[in-house]
Symmetry: D2
């Protein structure tokens, strides 16, 4: 962008794709998920279980996170699992539970879509489609999501460069859908003491390069519960527009990702702390 | 440490070495650099040029960073450079300049030591010895630093795991020197749009595993000037005890690392912002 | 597998999934692609252009590689490209060209499938389905490939561990399709002077852990033409059952991956050299 | 080097430093270690224990590897260990054992030097100085090695790019010592099922870029005994001028790296196989 080598936006000098480029919308994009706006002054927290396990579980968590200040409910019905023998999600049944609990709590819901053939069905139940880290390079899926009219939460591939991440978003915008939120969720590195390495530098870089809102997932980004609150604070301090994180009332019984899910009381405490950071950087989080 | 798998401090379950382990000093260690304490309530900022270039340059920067709120002056006299044809530093002459300007400004100085044979000389001039990223695995140097009576700033190897970082610190403590500060400065990953990937997750993990103070270097961690302020804020939000960063009055003329050095006015503005974050996490930065 | 720590098959000790485990078929699996057997004594070379560009181009290359000793023709009709603005392949038209040229030359063809909705169509034209690196984690696609009756060439994800690679293959076998060939094609590391880092250590490890044939792609694994012949030799020396590589008569005009495509005469020369290595490790390559 | 983008020697286009550049010595350099030449037609095998443990152990291994066809004896007297509590080597006592057994067997010896202060002493006993992976960025050590008159075996840093590796060698040549052998020994990646990822692509790239001989260490490069023979074969097939590998009569009792050390009988068998590969690529290994 700039020509002074002392003000380069990146070390590698790649060209930002035209539709996602901040130059094309200098004021930034606000994505609206059934009335909840991401990309404005308010920092938005998305929370819920890793996977929808049952109607009771989901309802218990939804009430908790709403009380804590979350504005959007997350929960997986289709789960991409490394092993074919791991819990694969409840499928359409899980989607129905999400829709029902959305109605009861008033929280919009976001859930993952893994296959082009699922987009139509998932769109009937969800307020935002999530494209997960393993599918960031799934171009047919990106194109289909671009043809849908739903907002899309696009997670960075665990081994995708910033350039590839922006190009993946460009696939969606190029089909006419500009309601895209980018999510940094940790990259794979040589360091294995955390599940992934949360690349918070992606936040200021993406905010500079693109007009799309940027959120952070400290649950997958670290894989360790006690690291979620400090990294959530750090994400807001770095300029993130929102957070997505996992909460479970009994993590030790969770069907997936228990080790990184917050206990409800931890979530409550953290939200109060996050508000302080948001204010310190000139933003806010509305707590109930 | 814990036995509940839902409360693991790391994914890999390595054993923290005995002398650096937080269990051995649950209240944490405060390192004192000629009266400036790191590891207490105050967040300490260390700043200065990448390399000492001249007495005038150093004095100009020292006054600037002191005015901005830095408590310790940094500056390289011996520079580890990838190429034998790059500027290698002023050597002892640079050390003398550091000492003189320390006397004039009252700021303690930290500077890098690259060779076991330099430790005695550098110790005559510096208040704290820095062991750089490329020497984190230099065990003879770690042992010699452990035998010195100077505080040591130990930077994480750019491709060192947290476990190896703690073991490197253990080499120093094992020789009787407990005045060690750990510094996260970015790791090498597949992502090259930033110079390194700043691993802020290292901050909460190290704070949990060890009693040693932990600081962050957002200059080397990103390599890009505009990313330094947001990542500095994020580091404090994540729990860092301090920061080390590069400032240069004319970065485009700097003999090294100009692209990541802050302009003086950026440094001033950033310090005011950092204070707000420090307060939001229950800490403080004393500004002049 | 073993209990003597001095004979561990891996450093991490993961459990090999049951259906792909060598223990379940100690003698190894031979995959037959329309009569061409991979996994036996013969080392099989698959070659062709990166993308099908035209009938003439494809026919020219097919004759060349057949003459050189290739036994199977490769060519992309659906191309996964990082940018939506890059050439995306000829689609079904390209598949028809592949089929026609297969008929004329007698070479079976392998081509990539990127979407569950394409499997039926691609199966009509191709003798083997390729699942590319970017889709190794695409579980719905793996399941559908597992339900097809076509042999599957599964490429390792550029970010996938050996454990994840085996689990991806297990998804296919778990649906009843045991005709799976594994392909090491380079992983993403900090080193960017090559396009990827070809992990030839994957060959002996996979051969020990699983009964499936293992081949290597030195074109994508290096991204540089002059490195293809030496790495092809190395792959056979390491125990690979085959190779897949790109050839183009005018690489400088190729619509994709020209820099890594061999000139026809290079291919010819290389094949003679590969035969020598094959014989040196007790195998063979039948040249015309 | 070339200007046709289809014949680039690297993806990143870095400039090869002048003294190591192949352009400065197109015919290549032959390094002579007390009469044993590396870089000529003969592929040279260096072998011995990880660490010198006792005179008896060293003598037993030296006779074995000499009988198998090794031309140079390796063995560590100063060992760089991640933990201060691991065996650190026998020091000068170990050097004396190396010298004595060299005299008895006629094998020249190579051993690691970790500190500038050790170079003089080690030079009295060793025929070649090894600079280990952890010290590839230790510039004072490189300079001192450049001032010595001994041949230097420079191992690639586990975190070093090819460009940095060449620059490290340039530090040595720049001091007047051109007797440098480069050793690829595995890099650190996300894959942890092997100790390191052996980057055999480094061999053809280095052979093209520099006139210095290139050898490979399949022991450290994999960390697993059964992978050593196939990767040794692959290294020769890729064009390596030599190999360095660990042998131990009772690996399960070794004081370090037992899991990657070959049993004597494995070494013998492997050498016969390596000779076949060497001949297949137009080189040779002289067996006793």
């Amino acid at each position: 962008m700039e020509t002074n080598p002392c003000n380069n936006p990146t070390n590698t000098g790649f060209t930002v794709p035209v539709r996602v480029s901040r130059e094309s919308r200098p004021d930034g994009t606000i994505v609206s998920i059934n009335g909840v706006e991401v990309g404005g002054k308010e920092v938005v927290v998305i929370s819920g279980p890793c996977a929808v396990e049952s109607s009771e579980q989901l309802f218990e968590i939804a009430r908790t996170v709403k009380k804590g200040g979350a504005r959007i409910l997350r929960g997986g019905a289709f789960k991409p699992r490394s092993s074919p023998y791991s819990f694969q999600g409840l499928g359409e049944e899980g989607l129905k539970m999400l829709r029902e609990i959305s109605r009861e709590t008033g929280l919009p819901v976001v859930t993952e879509v893994m296959d082009t053939r699922q987009i139509e069905m998932v769109s009937e139940y969800a307020d935002m489609l999530q494209i997960g880290s393993r599918n960031m390079h799934n171009y047919p899926l990106l194109k289909e999501a671009g043809m849908s009219r739903k907002p899309v939460l696009l997670k960075r591939g665990m081994m995708a460069t910033i350039e590839e991440f922006l190009l993946a978003a460009e696939y969606i915008l190029n089909q006419g859908n500009t309601q895209v939120i980018l999510c940094e969720r940790g990259i794979r590195t040589f360091e294995t003491s955390t599940r992934n390495t949360l690349d918070l530098g992606a936040v200021p870089m993406l905010k500079r390069l693109t007009h799309l809102p940027v959120i952070v997932d400290p649950s997958h980004g670290t894989g360790l519960r006690y690291m979620v609150p400090p990294m959530a604070k750090a994400a807001i301090a770095a300029g993130a527009d929102g957070l997505i994180m996992e909460v479970h009332p009994r993590p030790e019984e969770a069907l997936c990702d228990g080790q990184q899910s917050l206990y409800p009381e931890e979530f409550m405490q953290m939200m109060a702390d996050l508000k302080k950071i948001a204010i310190a950087v000139g933003r806010d989080i509305s707590l109930p």
